[in-house]
Amino acid sequence: MTQVAMTVNGKSVSGEVEGRTLLSDYLREDLRLTGTHVGCDTSQCGACVVHVDGKAVKACTMFAAEAEGAQVTTIEGMGTADGGLTAVQQAFQDHHGLQCGFCTPGMVMTAAALLEETPKPTEAEIRDYLEGNICRCTGYHNIVKAIMAASGQDVSAVAAE
């Protein structure tokens, strides 16, 4: 067992983990932050995307021990100071960018990272950036549209949701 300490959603946490414990398992099972979802076992689906030191990372691709000392943000840590939705989250609701909700945490975390890097992404840039996030419900239309809207772009010309 290895001792690990990190900051998750602004709070210091520490615990003992096995060397093989994935960050996604540590967040879900040890910290009970179950908003980070696991939808595959080959790091393809992106439901587990969190931010580690400001970068979007699939939490199933890291061992918990590798996050020693890191600043981790999960979907539970997204939101405005007063407990409301961020612009990205609000846009997902406004434009029906989610259905079953399972891929949604990863989508939101990925979208937030994209907008951090590229404040006004084109449709093509968004679709390209979402390559590592699979959604089976929405057909992506409203996710792409929501991200464009969250970036302040006029989406009225895009077909109605």
Binding site: G35, T36, V38, L85, F102, R127, R136, T138, Y140, A160
Partner: protein
């Protein structure tokens, strides 16, 4: 002006906030005190005799609490098929037992034959690897054609054949159809494959069981689209736990698409294990396990013939299909290729002759069952591909040949040659709408633009009709269903006027928590935000059959309407008492009960309060309380229909197909929440385009599943798909349910594959590759390039 609340409004989804903030509660998110973990041991061979299983070492490993094998379940029931199909000769289908764990024989790669329960998942996994099973591998059969040959290896030795049934629909029409085809001036024949898919809900299947030794009560949390059906199957067929001692809870469920309709052995195993060890037992599938053990979809091999006049008037459709059911019969696997497929083989057309023959075939592969669309995508694909081919042969515009054959608006109700009574529709109007959407006049310019870039542009169209709102119990009972297909709702008006609606339908992405209150709010004249939908817990909801077959609103929503009607009726009794008037004189409008012709009235909230504080009630006339239940059994299926168009670009150098434009015009009858309906269509389109271009479940000849991860199975991703144009302004309301709704959940997946393939064929013909008349899905670059260069 769009409505901002009630029926017809795009009300924002109230379930979204918990999902957007990580506060949804899916099965694997539940942690119970003292929980343990199950891991399954699955066959690595497709066909084999289990000669011995040694669990001694595994049982002694750290943390291991119990080990189970098939022998532990030899005396309990099997997981049954829900629909009996009879062959053309009247013989009932072959129905081998499907055990909780494989016993004596394994029949597909992934067939679970043992399970380990341990303190941690890692300990269970380590112990599972220590189980020593001697499995004598036998030749496997994967190909349906070979499975039907004499001397083929058998999936189930005891039934002596791999043919489950040989079904004809409608058998009495066979001779007339044969004669019509023989005499027809033009016959187009097409052999095609409807490719095998895996539904791939993003949340893998998961189950957690708890047993209370003090009361003998079991609780099963599970990823189900229909918790009552799951409970019924476990109670009545598999474990025999009385229903009043088993609570099944399907909490938030991360998509289903059919794969979570069915009861699976893992659910029974965790229940039995929880009782044995006296602690909760938890299991969550890995994605690889999902690929190996979820029910797959489609997998038909079909020969279809279309006989028509030289002017394109259809005379007959004749279909011969082999449908793969895999190694065991999943719960709806026998209904899907028959009554959900054969009955739709007249399409939107007034064709006089239809005959369908379906042979269902056991193979050493995972079970195959309903996947989004369930039989209707297979029907639509066969019809709309062969029609396109006929149009090309006859030199008739592909939309025009369809128009010439449509059932006309004044012909409804119309009994199709495949035996269904379509209640309403206007297929010509759908095509009119589609043509407005797709800028057909601009197509040639777009084609030239593509050509200038070395690309071939094609336009493909198709129409579809489907049967939803599953289903009238009296009809399906005659046809072999072993369950009724009604649904149920309880409307509970609380004393202070807020309302809980308990429904049998289950929402796993469809937005019931938002849309159902819109209906009730309009009926009662109350704020939709004061209404809560309760679903997914058999201890809270009435016995409904759940969500599949685009049935939730048409069937369960109708039960909600009926129960709400009863609330209004009861409210009138109470109001009559409060207003000292005759019940017959009470009218209810906009949330007010009033005495006709007077200014005396009382609000809904006051009536609700009075119902629970009945100090001066005439108790012999009216009971306290304001709570009503209704069961609704539909009189007919509903018949959504649509016209779809796809524009593709094909790169002739590589064979890569890019979907550039996609337009869908659908008739869903009345629409409650247009935003949600459009979202449902989007998702269906992505799955249909995925089937057409990307997705393929592949077993090798020995039965190894070689597409068992997202590295190998091509899921549609954001950069594979365009923005879609979706329209549902054509609305011919359903005539037999109180909402006039038809269902929208599967349309996109049903309607889209043929237009994609039709578009590719059109593109290749435009590029001079006229020898290519068909390519089987998925139209991968390799297949398209090979077709071009064949």
């Amino acid at each position: 002006m769009p409505k901002d609340h009630g029926v017809g409004a795009s009300s924002a989804r109230r379930e979204d906030v918990r999902f957007l903030t990580g506060r949804g509660k899916y099965t694997d998110d539940i942690a119970l005190q003292g929980q343990t973990h199950a891991v399954f041991v699955r066959s690595q061979v497709a066909n084999g005799v289990i000669t011995s299983i040694d669990t001694t070492e595994a049982a002694a490993m750290p943390g291991v609490l119990a080990v189970f094998t098939g022998a532990d379940f030899a005396d309990v029931g099997g997981n049954p098929a829900g629909w009996q199909i009879n062959s053309r000769d009247g013989e009932p289908m072959k129905e081998p037992k499907r055990p909780v764990l494989a016993h004596g024989k394994v029949r597909h790669v992934g067939d679970a034959y043992a399970a380990v329960i341990a303190e941690t998942e890692e300990q269970a996994r380590d112990a599972a690897e220590a189980i020593v099973a001697e499995i004598e591998e036998q030749p496997a059969v994967v190909d349906m054609g070979k499975a039907l040959e004499d001397g083929s290896p058998l999936v189930h030795d005891e039934i002596g054949t791999n043919q489950c049934f040989d079904w004809g629909w409608i058998e009495d029409n066979r001779a007339a159809t044969d004669a019509a085809i023989k005499a027809a001036p033009h016959v187009t024949t097409l052999e095609l494959v409807n490719n095998r898919l895996v539904p791939n809900a993003m949340e893998p299947r998961a189950s957690m069981a708890d047993y209370d030794p003090g009361t003998g009560d079991y609780t099963l949390y599970t990823t189900s689209q229909n918790p009552h059906l799951t409970r019924l199957l476990i109670s009545a067929f598999v474990l025999g736990i009385p229903e009043n001692k088993l609570k099944v809870v399907a909490p938030d469920v991360g998509g289903g698409f059919g794969s979570k309709i069915y009861h699976y052995g893992e659910e029974a195993l965790v229940l039995a294990a929880a009782k044995k060890i006296g602690r909760p037992v938890r299991w969550t599938a890995s994605r690889s396990e999902s690929f190996l053990s979820d029910a797959h979809g489609r997998d038909h091999v079909t020969k279809i013939e279309l006989a028509c006049e030289e002017d394109g008037t259809f005379i007959a459709f004749r279909t011969e299909t082999m449908a793969n059911v895999g190694a065991y019969l999943s719960n709806f696997s026998t209904a899907t290729p028959t009554f959900l497929h054969g009955t739709l083989m007249a399409g939107n057309y007034a064709v006089p002759n239809v005959y369908v023959n379906v042979k269902a075939v056991f193979t050493n592969t995972a079970p195959v069952d309903a996947y989004r669309g369930a039989g209707r995508p297979e029907a639509t694909y066969s019809l709309e591909r062969v029609i396109d081919m006929a149009a090309r042969e006859l030199g008739i515009d592909p939309l025009e040949i369809r128009r010439r054959n449509f059932v006309q608006p004044d012909q409804f109700p119309f009994t199709s040659a495949a035996g269904l009574e379509y209640d309403t529709g206007d297929y010509g109007a759908l095509v009119d709408t589609l043509e407005e959407m797709i800028d057909r006049d601009g197509f040639e310019a777009r084609r030239r633009d593509s050509a200038a870039r070395g690309k071939l542009r094609g336009l493909g169209v198709n129409t579809y009709i489907e049967a939803c709102g599953i289903a009238p119990s009296n009809l399906v009972g005659v046809l072999g269903a072993r369950v009724g297909l009604y649904d149920a709702a309880t409307v509970r008006v609380n004393a202070t006027g807020n309302i809980a609606v308990m429904v049998g339908a289950h929402s796993h992405g469809q937005g019931h928590e938002t849309a159902f209150p819109q209906v009730v709010a309009d009926m009662l004249g109350v704020d939709e935000n004061s209404i809560e939908i309760v679903h997914g817990d058999t201890s809270k909801i009435p016995f409904g059959m759940g969500t599949y077959g685009s049935r939730s609103l048409a069937v369960c929503g109708s039960a909600v309407v009926r129960a709400t009607d009863k609330i209004i009726t009861k409210g009138k009794k109470i109001a009559a008492h409060m207003l000292e008037a005759a019940e017959a004189d009470i009218e209810f409008t906009d949330g007010q009960f009033s005495v006709a012709g007077t200014d005396k009235s009382v609000g809904f909230g006051d009536v609700a309060l009075k119902a629970y504080i009945p100090h001066d009630f005439p108790l012999e006339e009216v009971e306290p309380g304001l709570e009503e239940t209704a069961f609704y059994d539909p009189a007919n299926f509903t018949y959504p229909s649509g016209a779809y168009a796809c524009e593709v670009e094909v790169d002739p150098e590589t064979g890569k197909v890019t979907v550039d434009r996609f337009a869908a015009a659908d008739d869903f009858g009345n629409v409650i929440n247009p935003m949600i309906v459009t979202g449902q269509v989007h998702g269906g389109l992505a799955q249909g385009i995925g089937q057409a271009l990307l997705e393929q479940t592949t077993y090798d000849s020995e039965g190894q599943l070689i597409s068992a991860s997202y590295m190998d199975y091509a899921m549609p991703r954001a950069d594979d798909l365009p923005f879609y144009e979706v329209d549902h302004s054509c609305q011919t309301p359903c005539t037999h349910n109180p909402l006039g709704v038809k269902g929208c959940g599967e349309a996109g997946a049903i309607g889209s594959p043929p237009s994609v393939v039709n578009a590719v064929i059109d593109a290749l013909h435009a590029g001079g590759h006229t020898h290519v008349t068909h390519i089987d899905m998925p139209l991968t670059p390799a297949r398209v390039w090979s077709a071009i260069n064949s």
